[in-house]
Amino acid sequence: MPQLNKLHVSPSPHVHSGDTVVSKMGTVIIALLPAYLVGLYYFGLGALIVSGVAIVSCLIIEFFIQKFVLKQKSTITDGSALLTGLLLGMNLPSNIPAWMVVVGAIVAIGVAKMSFGGLGRNIFNPALVGRVFMLISFPAKMTLWPAPMPLNMHYLDAETAATALSISKEFSVHAVDNWDLFIGNAGGSIGEVSALALLFGLVILLIRKVIRWHIPVSILSTVFIMAAIFHFASPDHFPTTPLFHLLSGGLMLGAIFMATDYSTSPMTSVGMLIYGVSIGVITLLIRYFGIYPEGISFAILIMNGVTPLINKYVKPKRYWEGSKK
C-alpha cells in the first residue's frame, strides 16, 4: 500500500483533454508553414532575413519586458510570441530594412500585447498593430514589394514591382493572372502571396479544431459576394472580378490567420459571423474607395475594437432556447 496520507485532493473533474496553449499555438505555426515556405521560395534571402528578424526580436522583447519591466515568470515558451513574430514577418515585404522590422516587433509585443497584460488580454492583434504602425511610419518602404524571383539571394537590393492590387487600383486592369495569384507567383508580403498554401493551412486548422469555420468563411464569402454584386452591377466602375479580390492582397492570410486570433475575435458563433461579415465589407470598401490598395489589416483592427461589444451582447445558444412549448 502506498502512503495514503499523501493523497492529492482536488475538485472534479480529474481528467483533462491534454490540450495545451503550446499545442494550439504549435498547430497554428505548422498551418502557417506552407505559406511561409512559398514566401521563402519566391522572395529568397530577403524573406528569410525579414521573418527571422521579426521572430527573434519578438521573442527577445517579450523576454526582456517580462524579466525587467513586469518582473513575472517568462512565458516565451508558450509559442505565442513566436507566432506573433512569424505572422509579423509574413505580413512584411521582403526588402524592408531590419531595423524597421525591430521597430514593428517592439510595437507588436511591447505595446499591443504586453501593455494589455500579455497573452489573452490584448484587444488588438499584436502582429497587425506592428504592421500597421510600420505602414503609417514607413509608408514608402511598406508599399514597395519585390517581384517574385524563385530562390534569389537579394535582400535590400531586390527588384521591386507593383502588386496586382495596386495596379488594379490605379489603372483598373487585371495585371496578374489569377492562377499566378492562386499559387503565389506574384508580388506582395512574404506570407500572403499563395492562396493555395494558405487554404491548405486553413484545412489543417479546421481538422485539428484549432479554429472554427465561421470567421474565415464569412470574411471570404462576404468579399466574394460583395465584389460580385459591385462588379456585375457596374463593370466599368469596378472592373476587378470577385475571384481576383479573393486571391489578391492579404485577404487570405488575414481571414485565415489574423482575424481568427483567439483573444481579439468574438467568442460565439453568431458573434464570429457578425465580425467576419463586417471585416469583409470594410476590406472591400477600403479596396474600392480608400487611399490604400489593401484594407484587410485596417478592417481586422477596427473589428478587434468592436469585439468586446460583440461578446457583451451576442450570447451563445443556450440549452433551453431550442425548447418547443
Binding site: 493523497l7 492529492h8 475538485p11 481528467v15 440549452y319
Partner: protein, 444 residues
C-alpha cells in the same frame, strides 16, 4: 447508422472502461460496518436502534426524517456497537450506526431466491409505499430520494418514463454489468415504474459502446409491452438528466423547470433494479455494485458491496491500492470526489473506487485564458464558463445570475477542455452558491 444524442456541447473523454468484462463478485463482509444516516440528498435519517441491539440484514436502523429523506437499513446482521460519526466522501462528519458483524442472517420477509418474479399485482400506492420503505435513492450519483421523485406535482402528468443506462462517466462499469447480469429484473422494474407513474411508454437509453448490454436487454424485451431501447452516440455528459431527455425525446426542459414539465420522469438503471428488488423481493437498498479500477490496477472488478462497508476494506479485498496512486476518487473521473483518506464508507451513491496514477494526480499550472472559445463550444448548457470565471473573480453576482450560472450542471466539460488548465468549474460552483443565496434571500 446515425445515432441520436443531445445537441449542444459535450466531449469525448477516453472511456477507459477497463472493468467492463469483469463479472460482478460479492465482496466479503468486514468485521465492522458504519451505516451512514446520510446516504441521500435531504435531511439525515434518525437512528432508531440502541447500542447492544441485535439487527438482521434488511432491518430498519434509520428512519426517514421529513419529506425529502430516506430510510436506512442494516446491511449486515450483528450487534449495534454505538452511534457515532463517520467521515463522508466530502470530508464532513455524519452520524452513522456502527454494527459489529455476526454471521449473515437476513430478515425473513426478504426473498433471497434468484427466481425472477415478473408479475406485479400491487396497487399504485402500495408500490410507492414499498419504494419509500426500502430507502431507495437515485443511484446514478444524485442520490435524490426516489419516492419523492415519483410523487408528481399537482396537475402534472407523466407521458414517458426514461431509463438512464448511459454511464457516460469514464471508467465506471457498474450499470453496464447490471444490464448484462440483471437484464430481466431491470425490465420488470421498468414495468413496475410504468404502472406506478401511469405511463404506457418507457425508453431505455444506452450508449452504443455497450452493445452487449443492448443485446441482452432486447433478448428479454418481447415479454414486456411499451418498453423501447434507444441506442445513443457516445458523448459525455449524456447521462445528465437534461441531456438524456433531449437525446431520447428531442425535448428540452425549460429554464428553471423540471423533467416533468416536458412530461418525462428519468430513473437510473441501478435505481430501477433496486425498485425491482424492493417491490418484488421485499429487499431494501442495502447493497450496490462498486467498480474498482484505474490505469495501474492489476485486477479490475465490479463488486456487490454492502452499504456502510469501509472503503479501506473494499480496497484491501480488491487487491489493494496500487503503489503509484496519487489520488483516489469515489465515483467517475468527471464528477467524482477525490478522497483525503479511505476512512469513509460505501454509500448508496458510491459507483466506483478509482485510482489515479501519481503523475496524473496533480493539477497543472494555470495560465492566462487565451479565449480559445473551447469551453463555450463544449458546454452542454450553452453557458460561457470563461466569463463566469472572471465574474466570480470580480464578485459580480448579479451579472452571474444574468449569465445563467444556475443552469450549470457541473459536468466539468469546461475544465476538461481548457488548454490553460483553468479551474473553471470550482469557480462556477462558488458562484452558484453565492447566487443561490441571493435568490433565496429575494424569495423570502
Amino acid at each position: 447508422m446515425l445515432f441520436k444524442t443531445f445537441r449542444l456541447g459535450g466531449i469525448h473523454p477516453e472511456s477507459n472502461k477497463l472493468a467492463s468484462s469483469f463479472g460482478t463478485q460479492v465482496l466479503p463482509l468486514p468485521e465492522l460496518v458504519k451505516i451512514p444516516m446520510v446516504s441521500h440528498i435531504g435531511a439525515p435519517s434518525l437512528p432508531i436502534v440502541q447500542p447492544g441491539d441485535r439487527v438482521k440484514v434488511g432491518q430498519l436502523v434509520g428512519q426517514a426524517n421529513g419529506h425529502v429523506s430516506a430510510n436506512v437499513h442494516s446491511s449486515v446482521s450483528g450487534t449495534v456497537l454505538k452511534i457515532d460519526t463517520v467521515v463522508d466522501t466530502l470530508g464532513k462528519e455524519q452520524t452513522a450506526v456502527f454494527i459489529k458483524v455476526e454471521g449473515d442472517e437476513w430478515d425473513e420477509k426478504i426473498d433471497r431466491t434468484p427466481d425472477v418474479i415478473s408479475t406485479c399485482d400491487l396497487e399504485i400506492p402500495h408500490i410507492l409505499n414499498k419504494i419509500m420503505n426500502a430507502g431507495i435513492v437515485g443511484m446514478g450519483g444524485a442520490t435524490f430520494p426516489t419516492h419523492v421523485k415519483l410523487m408528481l406535482p399537482q396537475g402534472k402528468k407523466a407521458e414517458v418514463l426514461l431509463i438512464n443506462g448511459i454511464e457516460c462517466e469514464p471508467y465506471l462499469t457498474c450499470d453496464h454489468r447490471l444490464m448484462l447480469e440483471r437484464g430481466e429484473q431491470i425490465l420488470v422494474g421498468v414495468s413496475i415504474l410504468m404502472k406506478a407513474l401511469g405511463v404506457n411508454r418507457a425508453i431505455i437509453g444506452i450508449e452504443k459502446n455497450k452493445k452487449d448490454a443492448i443485446i441482452n436487454l432486447k433478448k428479454h424485451l418481447k415479454a414486456f409491452n411499451g418498453i423501447e431501447i434507444t441506442t445513443l452516440k457516445n458523448k459525455y455528459p449524456q447521462g445528465g438528466e437534461k441531456q438524456l431527455i433531449e437525446a431520447l425525446t428531442n425535448k428540452q426542459v425549460p429554464h428553471g423547470g423540471l423533467p416533468i414539465d416536458v412530461g418525462c420522469v428519468v430513473q437510473n438503471i441501478a435505481t430501477v433494479h433496486a425498485i425491482y428488488e424492493a417491490v418484488q423481493k421485499n429487499k431494501p437498498l442495502i447493497e450496490r455494485i462498486v467498480t474498482v479500477t484505474g490505469k495501474s490496477v492489476k485486477s479490475h472488478g465490479n463488486y456487490w458491496v454492502r452499504i456502510g462497508v469501509p472503503l479501506s476494506f473494499v480496497a484491501e479485498q480488491t487487491g489493494g491500492v496500487p503503489e503509484d496512486t496519487g489520488k483516489i476518487i469515489v465515483g467517475g473521473p468527471m464528477m467524482g470526489r477525490a478522497l483525503s483518506s479511505l476512512d469513509s464508507v460505501a454509500s448508496k451513491g458510491t459507483a466506483g473506487l478509482l485510482y489515479i496514477q501519481n503523475e496524473k494526480a496533480r493539477a497543472k499550472e494555470e495560465g492566462n485564458c487565451i479565449r480559445c472559445t473551447q469551453c463555450i463550444t463544449d458546454c452542454p448548457m450553452g453557458l460561457e464558463p470563461y466569463l463566469l470565471k472572471s465574474q466570480v473573480d470580480m464578485s459580480l453576482w448579479t451579472e452571474m445570475e444574468e449569465s445563467r450560472v444556475m443552469d450549470c450542471i457541473e459536468c466539468g466539460c469546461c475544465d476538461y477542455c481548457c488548454p490553460s488548465n483553468k479551474t473553471l468549474l470550482s469557480a462556477i460552483k462558488q458562484g452558484k452558491q453565492e447566487v443561490g443565496k441571493i435568490i433565496r434571500d429575494r424569495n423570502k
